[in-house]
């Protein structure tokens, strides 16, 4: 794990003038696509658990020796623009995590707009998340490329402002090796090669492994594997 992100004071100025142009982001994602080229969480998956319960859960998990904790933010705080409340909530979780690394799941499919995704990412990083993650994988809309672009831009901005590199983890809906490679391309394009390490970039994809095995099989043997030739993913 990379050095921990200590977080900063709540700087609403960083997000007060944030605009995200959805069509432009979507076009950008499409262009890059054209180029060709796993854990227990607190309050999982709905993020609607009361804060007290969340904190208790985290403390218990840390007590049992968990090295990494995933938390889900309360989407109502984002949708109603209560950035201070969101910051406080993540701050408390951070404190509860102690030395364990904290991943903040934004559940981006339910945040309403890309500008909200950007702002929530920024707040999560200010509050001391070591990783920001798109979704639990259980929402209707999972890790889409436009959302990824916006979150990565927020990470870059946070890096420019503070000098801390926060990790990024898209999760959910990534099923094929090709999509995984597109994600790698996106990270390289938006954040640079230095983010392409396991400390700063991960893919959450439960069904991806099978496809990667298939692809490797194909590239070695020239044909795809039959069902019984690979272990069940």
């Amino acid at each position: 794990m990379a050095g921990r992100n200590p977080g900063t004071e709540l700087e609403l100025g960083w997000i007060s003038k944030v605009y995200v142009n959805r069509p432009a982001v979507v076009r950008h994602a499409e262009q890059i696509k054209k180029w060709k080229t796993v854990k227990v969480a607190a309050g999982f998956p709905s993020g609607q658990t009361p804060l007290e319960a969340k904190l208790t859960e985290i403390r218990l998990a840390v007590e049992y020796g968990a090295r990494e904790i995933d938390i889900v933010i309360s989407r109502s705080l984002v949708l109603t623009g209560q950035w201070e409340g969101l910051y406080e909530e993540i701050r408390l979780c951070r404190a509860a995590c102690g030395e364990a690394h904290m991943k903040t799941i934004l559940a981006t499919g339910e945040l309403g707009s890309l500008a909200n995704v950007y702002k929530a990412s920024m707040i999560a990083m200010m509050a001391g998340s070591d990783f920001i993650k798109t979704s639990t994988g259980k929402e209707v809309e999972n890790a889409t490329f436009p959302v990824g672009i916006v979150m990565m831009r927020a990470i870059k901005e946070y890096y420019w402002q503070t000098g801390y590199k926060v990790g990024f983890k898209p999760a959910g809906g990534i099923r094929t090796a090709k999509e995984a490679i597109t994600w790698l391309m996106l990270v390289k394009e938006e954040l640079g090669v230095e983010w392409l390490t396991p400390e700063l970039f991960r893919l959450g994809a439960s069904s991806l492994l099978g496809d990667i095995e298939q692809q490797v099989f194909y590239h070695v043997t020239g044909s795809y594997a039959l069902q019984h030739e690979l272990a069940m993913a």
């Binding site: 003038k17 605009y19 142009n21 069509p23 432009a24 982001v25 060709k36 090669v193 590239h219 070695v220």
Partner: protein
């Protein structure tokens, strides 16, 4: 595993360490394969087959990235040209006789072949020859090109109602005079062929391979009959030989640089050359404080890497509002740093080499650096051939407004970032930048974005986008029926009767030194003053004025003595009423392009000059459309002809027309066109044969260019010329020379030459017939200094009289020094003086400014191209907004001058002599439908002249009180 080893892949651990993209196993390059299949020795493509004349010198086709010779073509000469013209002429009748549906079908088949089988080959050849990255040539560029071919083909197949009775011109030559993309060629070639003409494409050897492939495709399976499309590669002067072929009825120059135009001016006034195709220029991007900065930076960097296909390389100027300028600069630097520079044939390359024949913008960048601007340059990776044809992505920030990098478009991946205080200031700066063809506004605040976009003079404005397809392709190629008509009519003869030939002498040539005509200047200035107000009035208000005038004219009748142009039959009144009705219900049209929607709106040109040569009648019906669309008109009427125009003016003014909107002043029967042109109106209608001298006037170098010479401009023989002069001069003849120039400023020698040239120019005025030629020869050698446009803004230069011998001595000295130093003069455009007492007398100042006037005041070729201010498109899209005003001036002047039977082709800008009334001033689409078919048979030229001048009251930053 064995397979991986066979691929030669790097060890997996190393791949994970660097995370480099691997090579794409592409196999053999299809472009190279095609060249190889021809033995790397191509020919001309004439009459459906390869023409390889024996014993001809070979010209090399070079790869843009490395300069490697990839193929050779025989140097075309006049005999090849004759063969090609003969083939085209022979095929013309059969091709025209096939009929629109059949022609359209064949062209569609050509597009299909190009799209399916040979796409890879064409893309690779374009990348090889033009240096644009493969991902562009294979994708967006080719898609646009195909669309430009398919749309006119579809139109021809349908048989457009607007084209009934139109006949093809015959043989049309297309000369690729400069770097020019395939889409630019197809933009003209599609309508040309669809209309039933046969084409003769003359190309430089560097650009030839893709065109020869196109020719070969047209011959394969006889998609096009032999002789319909002929491609000839040859040296640049080859097009001159076209003069000997009267069968060639029209010539279109694509991508011609303006100084070349002078050399290309057509010999016979009957077949005027036209400039076609997109001209180079810059894109100005305005980033306001509510913009999505990351998206803006990503789009700007991508545009800097590969500009849109129809805007050849001209760099990009970014105006960022103060609040976001720093943040934007940081993002731009990061984006530029991540661009992949490399071999254009590599699919992952984003920045290719400079296009062939383009000098690197080294001088501009160096000058900006010397002036104190910050220059950020991305180091180039290792590149083929040492990368000397590449230029690194560059960002200049903090440059002064007067800096060369802002005054001149510089080719290459070059960004200039300039902070502005407010949207108003951004509009003012964007209006004042020369040679900007398109603009983009980035702002999430829709009110501000739309308002800003609306006030920009550029013809094409994107909102929150930069990569949407340029709709001029869509329009000129015709997503809308009216536009398709326009594009096709450019290459057709109208069905109505052509006027008889009138034997008129050519106008006297007006030179740049001619003193201006004060009356005309005042009239044009008055019109300019009235233009913004009149143009911004709602259509309904303008319609009311026209109706009022029509009512007032009810009783009055002109007499035939007034030149036959009085309103004897009520046609003027009808025209007023018709145009009042049109302008009242006129509005924009929404159009879909791939990626978004576009709103096309009309804007007035501005000030339109009307030059009326006497023996011809002036149909007054042509004036209402010009006025109705918001233009101001200055009519130079010959003696005795002004009566009816004055009557019309009186009626209009009484109905509420602003006084300056229609100016009538007496002119001579000849030459008023040239004199009007000197006043730089935004458009010019000619009724007479003034076109050729006008073209010469227009071809004068533009003001504002930079003082940078690729080669040392000083001739090696200047001493001999001075020696020739000496015996002829009275050695104590007094001439004015400056006495207080700043001495060791590095520019002083240049300034010395400048003043020397001014003095000699004045001597030329009084020189006798023996001395004059000698002076002229010498002056021609000093002409380079005019390109620096030396000015004295502070008016500090003091002149004193010295002997001419002293002048010559100083000149020799100055030239000697200049010869020995690098031919790059940054910051020399403004004279600097030694500190001392200010000017003593007015007379002296007058002397000083004379020099400054030396630079020709003409708007020159820029105007030919970009004159923005017309029509507009505002794209409201789920995806993006785009505002597009049709760049009317892309169409050249001088189509069909007098005597050309086929005048009246629309030429895109304004239709000429179409029907009594079908001249729309503003934009092609505005032109009226032929409601009454009575042709006036009048010859009208429309020369859009100058880009909107900065002085033309763009909103200034004072307005917002910041």
């Amino acid at each position: 595993m064995a397979a991986l080893v066979a691929l030669g892949a790097a060890p997996v651990a190393k791949i994970f360490a660097t995370m480099e993209e691997g090579p794409i196993p592409a196999g053999i390059n299809p472009g190279e394969a095609w060249l190889e299949s021809h033995g790397r020795s191509l020919g001309h493509f004439v009459a459906g087959t390869w023409l390889k004349p024996p014993g001809r010198m070979s010209l090399e086709c070079q790869e843009a990235a490395t300069g490697r010779t990839v193929a050779v073509v025989p140097a075309g000469d006049s005999s090849d040209l004759a063969a090609a013209v003969a083939a085209a002429a022979a095929a013309a009748e059969a091709w025209a006789g096939l009929g629109g549906p059949e022609r359209g079908q064949r062209l569609t088949r050509l597009a299909t072949t190009l799209d399916s089988d040979r796409r890879g080959t064409m893309g690779a050849l374009l990348a090889l020859a033009g240096g644009r990255p493969l991902c562009q040539t294979l994708g967006a560029d080719l898609d646009l090109g195909l669309r430009l071919l398919q749309v006119p083909a579809g139109g021809a197949q349908l048989g457009l109602p607007g084209l009934e009775g139109w006949t093809p011109l015959g043989v049309v030559a297309v000369v690729l005079a400069g770097p020019c993309s395939l889409s630019a060629l197809l933009w003209k070639l599609g309508p040309l062929l669809a209309m039933g003409n046969t084409a003769l494409v003359l190309s430089s050897p560097a650009a030839a391979p893709p065109l020869l492939l196109l020719g070969e495709l047209s011959g394969e399976g006889a998609v096009l009959p032999p002789g319909v499309l002929n491609v000839l590669a040859g040296p640049p002067g080859l097009c001159q030989a076209l003069r000997a072929h009267p069968e060639v009825t029209s010539v279109t120059f694509l991508g011609a640089a303006q100084e070349e135009l002078q050399a290309l001016v057509w010999g016979s006034p009957c077949r005027g050359p036209r400039l076609g195709g997109p001209r180079g220029g810059r894109v100005v991007v305005i980033v306001l404080d509510s913009a999505d900065l990351d998206s803006a930076a990503a789009a700007i960097a991508a545009t800097a890497a590969t500009p849109p296909a129809l805007f050849p390389w001209g760099g990009c100027v970014v105006l960022a509002q103060d609040a976001v300028a720093v943040a934007l600069e940081q993002r731009l630097r990061a984006r530029l740093g991540a661009l992949r520079v490399g071999d254009p044939l590599d699919p992952k390359t984003e920045v290719g080499p400079l296009p062939p024949g383009t000098p690197p913008p080294e001088g501009v960048v160096q000058e900006a650096h010397e002036e104190g601007a910050q220059v950020f340059q991305v180091p180039l990776p290792p590149l083929p051939e040492g990368g000397h044809r590449f230029y690194p992505p560059t960002l200049i920030s903090g440059a002064a407004l007067t800096s060369c990098c802002l005054r001149e478009p510089a080719p290459g991946p070059l960004l200039v970032l300039l902070p502005v205080r407010s949207p108003n200031e951004a509009v003012a700066v964007a209006s004042a930048l020369p040679q900007t063809v398109a603009a983009a506004v980035w702002a999430q605040d829709i009110t501000v974005a739309l308002d800003t976009a609306d006030r920009l003079p550029q013809g094409l404005v994107w909102l929150n986008a930069l990569d949407l397809l340029d709709p001029s392709g869509g329009c000129a190629g015709g997503a809308m029926d009216t536009d398709l008509d326009e594009a096709l009519r450019e290459f057709g003869c109208p069905p109505w009767e052509q006027p008889p030939e009138v034997d008129e002498p050519l106008s006297p040539l007006v030179t740049a030194d001619d003193p201006g005509d004060p009356d005309l200047a005042q009239a044009v200035a008055a019109a300019r003053g009235a233009a913004p107000g009149w143009g911004r009035l709602a259509g309904a208000c303008r319609a009311r004025v026209l109706r009022g005038a029509a009512a007032a004219l009810w009783g009055g009748h002109g007499t035939p003595k007034d030149g036959g142009s009085g309103d004897t039959d009520g046609s003027l009144r009808r025209a007023l009423l018709r145009w009042a009705a049109r302008v009242e219900r006129g509005g924009g049209a929404v159009q879909e392009v791939p990626g978004g929607r576009v709103l096309v709106t009309r804007r007035p040109l501005g000030v339109v000059g009307v030059a009326w040569g006497w023996p011809r009648p002036l149909p007054l019906e042509l004036l209402p459309p010009a006025l109705a669309l918001g233009n101001c008109v200055v009519v130079a009427a010959p003696p005795g002809g002004a009566g009816p125009v004055q009557r019309l003016r009186k009626a209009l003014v009484a109905a509420g027309l602003p006084g300056g909107a229609l100016m009538v002043l007496p002119g001579n029967s000849r030459g008023s066109g040239s004199r009007l042109a000197r006043q730089r109106p935004d458009g010019l209608w000619l009724c007479g044969t003034d076109a050729v001298p006008l073209l010469l006037l227009l071809a004068a170098p533009a003001p504002g260019s930079c003082c940078f010479f690729t080669f040392n401009p000083v001739s090696s023989t200047f001493r001999a010329h001075v020696n020739n002069l000496t015996p002829w001069l009275l050695l104590d003849y007094p001439v004015a020379m400056p006495s207080n120039l700043e001495p060791d400023s590095g520019c002083s020698d240049l300034w010395g030459v400048h003043f020397g040239a001014v003095a000699l120019q004045r001597m030329l005025g009084v020189a006798g017939k023996d001395l004059a030629p000698l002076l002229r020869t010498f002056l021609a050698q000093l002409h380079f200094v005019a390109e620096c446009h030396i000015q004295d803004p502070q008016g500090c230069v003091r002149l004193e009289m010295v002997n001419v011998s002293q002048l010559l001595e100083t000149l020799v000295q100055n030239l000697g020094v200049l010869q020995g130093r690098p031919s790059h003069f940054p910051g020399c455009a403004h004279l600097r003086c030694q500190p001392g007492p200010a000017l003593t007398s007015l007379a002296v100042r007058h002397e000083g400014t004379l020099g400054a006037r030396q630079g020709p005041p003409s708007p020159a070729g820029h105007g030919l191209v970009l004159l923005g201010g017309v029509g507009g498109a505002l794209g409201l899209a789920a995806a993006a907004w785009m505002l597009w005003r049709r760049p009317c001036a892309q169409v050249g002047p001088l189509e069909g001058t007098l005597g050309d039977g086929c005048l009246g082709g629309t030429g895109g800008a304004l239709r000429v002599g179409d029907t009594g009334d079908a001249v729309g001033v503003g934009c092609p689409g505005v032109t009226g439908r032929a409601e009454d078919t009575g042709s006036t048979g009048e010859h009208w030229e429309v020369l859009p002249l100058s880009p909107p001048q900065p002085s033309q009251a763009p909103p200034t930053s004072e307005q917002d009180g910041t």
